[in-house]
């Protein structure tokens, strides 16, 4: 790949107990681009995504081999602090998961745990993050209302703002729109387009139109393997593998 990669995986394998969920995955994630992961459900997209911020560490009986590097540092290295890794690699989940706190406290949570105490700094971060997540105008008058009172689409943008507030380099998104209506989905897609100026975005989606709309690069996964990876235009218009073509043309999945 011509552009500079921020994340690279080399021969990555993952087992849930006896189940071989990722099989020899090697790929590059280019910096400041949107990369989409597509494939039928159960093929390992979420699993791969969760490797990038080591969230699979939470699950018992997970075994990982192979290498993942972030800016040329091995993230499984014993020197790597998993907490600061997660600060650099933020994540937005499939189902919006705001904490049962106020809108303000949700955004301020990240900066606070990373040591920001100053009220004016926090106010500024909250405002900026909400603005960047295109939520500010809708909530600026009720920052201290419970976050759970927001609509689903607003909650998801809140979760994006919450991630932005810790200024990550990479943002992982696991089917961020699957629980949302078309209008909310369109808002989030616009947002992703703006985000790539400052961030690297990796988005899992099983909606191919969405992948085609928002991403620069696309990886197609099938049964735990990365079948093909490249420029989105190329994957969608001239796929090299038959499997990819079948999937994209809707012949299965």
């Amino acid at each position: 790949m011509s552009e500079s990669a921020i994340i690279t995986t080399q021969d990555l394998n993952l087992w849930y107990g006896g189940k071989h969920a990722l099989q020899s995955v090697s790929m590059h994630i280019p910096k400041n681009r949107v990369t989409a992961l597509i494939g039928p459900s159960g093929c390992g997209k979420s699993t791969l995504l969760r490797c990038f911020n080591r969230l699979n560490d939470l699950i018992d009986h997970v075994k990982i081999t192979g290498e993942i590097t972030l800016d040329d540092e091995n993230i499984h290295d014993r020197k790597t602090d998993v907490v600061s890794l997660r600060k650099r690699v933020g994540m937005v989940f499939q189902k919006p998961n705001p904490f049962p706190k106020s809108i303000y406290d949700n955004i301020a949570f990240g900066p606070r745990v990373h040591g920001v105490r100053n009220k004016t700094d926090l106010d500024r971060i909250v405002e900026e993050s909400l603005k960047r997540a295109a939520l500010w105008d809708e909530v600026k008058d009720r920052l201290h209302d419970p976050a759970l009172a927001l609509s689903g689409g607003q909650q998801q943008r809140l979760c994006i703002a919450r991630t932005l507030a810790v200024e990550p380099e990479v943002i992982l998104m696991d089917e961020p729109c699957s629980a949302l209506d078309p209008i909310a989905t369109a808002k989030i897609e616009n947002l992703i387009d703006m985000l790539k100026e400052d961030y690297t975005v990796i988005i899992v989606t099983h909606n191919m139109q969405q992948a085609a709309r928002v991403s620069d690069y696309t990886g197609f996964m099938y049964l735990g393997k990365l079948i093909e990876c490249g420029k989105t235009v190329q994957i969608f218009e001239h796929p090299k593998e038959e499997l990819t073509e079948n999937y994209i043309t809707g012949r299965f999945g």
């Binding site: 911020n53 969230l55 939470l58 018992d60 907490v83 600061s84 890794l85 997660r86 600060k87 650099r88 933020g90 994540m91 989940f93 189902k95 998961n97 705001p98 904490f99 049962p100 706190k101 106020s102 406290d105 949570f109 990240g110 606070r112 745990v113 990373h114 040591g115 201290h144 419970p146 759970l148 009172a149 979760c159 919450r162 991630t163 810790v166 992982l172």
Partner: protein, 651 residues
């Protein structure tokens, strides 16, 4: 073989008269409705009889002077019936118990829910169940022999029977309740919150302390309230170690002063009072006050938990019970209160250098913590959490080893098969063992049909509505009623009013009322776990409701029901307060001839040996060990049945 003709008969009957069947169904339903209303009726009766016997004192003294009167001296030449010192004693002892139990329990619950490996969990959880299973008289016995002695020596006092002793002991007894309910609450926090926080780069400790515990706060609050209810209602243990002087400590934070609680007063004085006297009536007044306090406490905990339960099924989007700014406020207040309390207690009780040391540590923590890295704070916090789990485990081990090591030498064939001699110093405890078995057998025979019937009505025959709400509230109230109140009720109603006298049957009925809520609840749970599709399948074949219940629903629910019944037996076997005035005598050479005779019972025997018979150490410990083994044995059987059938269902 036999069932074939019966079935055929059934069919002809079905064809014959649908009306007859409908009538039979309605009759069955009516019977179950009666069993279900029973809990409510009992609660009403308890209130009625306590008020009836307590009324004269309220009339004579006035409600406020009775509640706020500064002196309780019922046997003085000029008797005084002011229960303020008793209320104060109850509050202080409970407060102390919570200062001890809450941090330990929450630490332990966090450890089990968040940090422990599955193997450690599989040791800790049964250990906590065991802690819950130890009878209160055994706690009292341990407290009297070991704890008060330790306090006496440590603080160089004439007697170790103090507020401190009572608080520590009650704190230990409240641990299992608070731990298990908080652990449930913490475990129930959705995984997404945890992942969301970690994905932002919060440490595990930041995630626990700032996301998980706040999200579980209502459940933890309910756990603490339940623990308070347990402490307020406890009689035997507190009576054995509190010193029982009806005074308000001087100064108020002097934790080395003896105190007397509402329950203790009933336990001590009820046995010796002349029926119908002012004093008798005053004791019932005390019971009314006690009942009202515990019912308020328990109902509020139940309300919180129920709200949580409903919220859980209706998530997401549902607002939390406690808005976040209020819950933050609560956390701050609780933290501040604890700091102040701890400081006061430490200043009052320990040598000055310990107090100075603690203040220094606290100060260092306060000023140093911004300078510590997140990793260091996490290490310290996890250290404290692990320590609290270790302390809980250590407490259990200390109690068990003390009773086992000192009790084993007493165990002999003679001890188990002979009646006591020389006030129990010599001889055995055979009549007490048999008496306890009689009592629990009778209790379960009475409670099981009523409880199972009530549960069947609640689960199978009604939709959730006003009637079930009333019945459930009745069951909750019964569940929250202190055991000593059952004792008083049994005495006033069964012994006196029904004229049964102090007799086995009176004890059996009283115990039955006490375990009824447990049986109802466990049966309800096992009925609810039967899939609805089974019922629908049966009804779709044209089976009547009762046929469906009796042939399809109940059989697979039997293991659950039996487990609940055995747990209740274990609980009843260890109880002292309900039988103390209704059924037992201290010494009896022969076994009772009929249910109208009084009996001996293990817990009461241990209580009298421990408090009234000097110099019978071996037999005391032996009795404690036998009681412990009996109760733990019942629990073990129940747990075995439970796991056996769980495995079977899974495959």
């Amino acid at each position: 073989m036999k069932s074939v003709p019966e079935k055929q008969q059934d069919r002809t009957a079905t064809a014959g008269s649908a009306r007859q069947i409908r009538l039979r169904e309605q009759l069955t339903k009516a019977v179950f409705f009666c069993t279900a209303s029973f809990a409510v009726i009992v609660v009403a009766f308890i209130l009625l009889f306590l008020l009836r016997d307590g009324y004269p004192i309220f009339a004579a003294e006035g409600i406020l002077p009775f509640l706020l009167g500064p002196s309780w001296a019922p046997t003085a030449v000029e008797p005084q019936y002011g229960i303020f010192p008793l209320i104060a004693g109850t509050l202080l002892v409970t407060l102390g118990a919570m200062v001890f139990a809450v941090p330990l329990s929450i630490g332990c619950a966090i450890y089990i829910a968040e940090l422990a490996s599955p193997r450690v969990k599989s040791i800790l959880k049964p250990a906590i169940e065991l802690l819950a299973g130890i009878p209160s008289v055994v706690y009292g016995f341990f407290g009297l022999i070991v704890l008060t002695n330790f306090i006496r020596v440590t603080f160089d006092l004439p007697s170790g029977e103090t507020w401190l002793a009572a608080s520590v002991l009650l704190g230990i007894m409240a641990l299992p309740t608070i731990i298990s309910v908080s652990e449930d609450a913490i475990t129930a926090v959705p995984r997404e919150y945890r992942e969301g926080s970690l994905a932002i780069g919060a440490t595990r400790w930041q995630t626990i302390s700032q996301v998980i515990v706040p999200a579980a706060l209502s459940g933890i609050a309910a756990a603490i309230i339940l623990g308070i209810g347990r402490a307020v209602g406890e009689t035997m243990a507190v009576l054995m170690v509190a010193g029982n002087a009806a005074i308000i400590p001087e100064p108020i934070w002097n934790i080395l002063s003896p105190v007397r609680t509402l329950t203790g007063t009933l336990g001590i004085e009820m046995g010796e009072v002349a029926v119908g006297s002012d004093h008798y009536s005053a004791l019932f007044g005390v019971a009314v006050v006690l009942l009202v306090i515990t019912l308020i406490i328990n109902l509020s905990a139940v309300a919180i938990l129920r709200h949580l339960h409903e919220g859980r099924t209706a998530r997401p989007g549902k607002k939390p019970l406690i808005p976040s700014h209020i819950s933050d406020g609560i956390i701050t207040i609780v933290k501040a209160a604890f700091l102040v309390l701890l400081l006061i207690l430490l200043l009052a009780a320990t040598p000055w250098y310990v107090a100075v040391l603690i203040i220094t540590l606290a100060g260092a923590w306060y000023y140093g913590r911004d300078r510590l890295s997140r990793g260091q704070i996490e290490t310290i916090s996890f250290g404290l959490i692990v320590a609290s789990a270790i302390i809980v485990l250590a407490i259990l081990i200390i109690i068990l080893q003390d009773i086992i090591i000192n009790g084993l030498p007493a165990l002999s064939w003679e001890f188990l098969t002979q009646p006591p001699r020389d006030l129990g110093r010599e001889g055995g405890i055979f009549p007490a063992i048999v008496g306890t078995l009689y009592l629990v057998t009778g209790a379960i025979l009475i409670a099981l049909p009523l409880g199972v019937g009530a549960a069947i009505y609640l689960v199978e025959y009604t939709r959730e509505g006003r009637i079930t709400r009333i019945i459930r509230t009745g069951v909750d109230l019964l569940n929250g009623t202190p055991s000593i109140v059952f004792g008083l009720f049994g005495f006033a109603f069964i012994v006196l009013y029904l004229n049964a006298g102090v007799s086995m049957i009176a004890g059996q009925i009283t115990l039955a009322l006490m375990v009824l809520p447990t049986i109802i609840r466990t049966t309800e749970e096992s009925l609810k776990s039967i899939p609805q599709s089974l019922r629908e399948g049966s009804l779709a074949l044209g089976a009547t409701q009762w046929q469906t219940i009796s042939q399809v629903v109940i059989p697979p629910a039997v293991p659950g029901i039996v487990t609940g019944a055995i747990l209740s037996i274990g609980r009843a076997a260890g109880e002292t307060a309900p039988i103390m005035f209704t059924a037992v005598v201290f010494s009896q050479r022969f076994l009772p001839d009929s249910v109208y005779d009084p009996v001996m019972a293990l817990p009461y025997h241990l209580f009298i040996l421990a408090t009234n018979v000097p110099g019978s150490a071996t037999n005391k410990y032996g009795t404690a060990l036998v009681l412990l083994l009996l109760v733990v044995g019942f629990y073990a059987v129940a747990i075995l049945i439970r796991t056996h059938f769980q495995k079977k269902i899974r495959g």
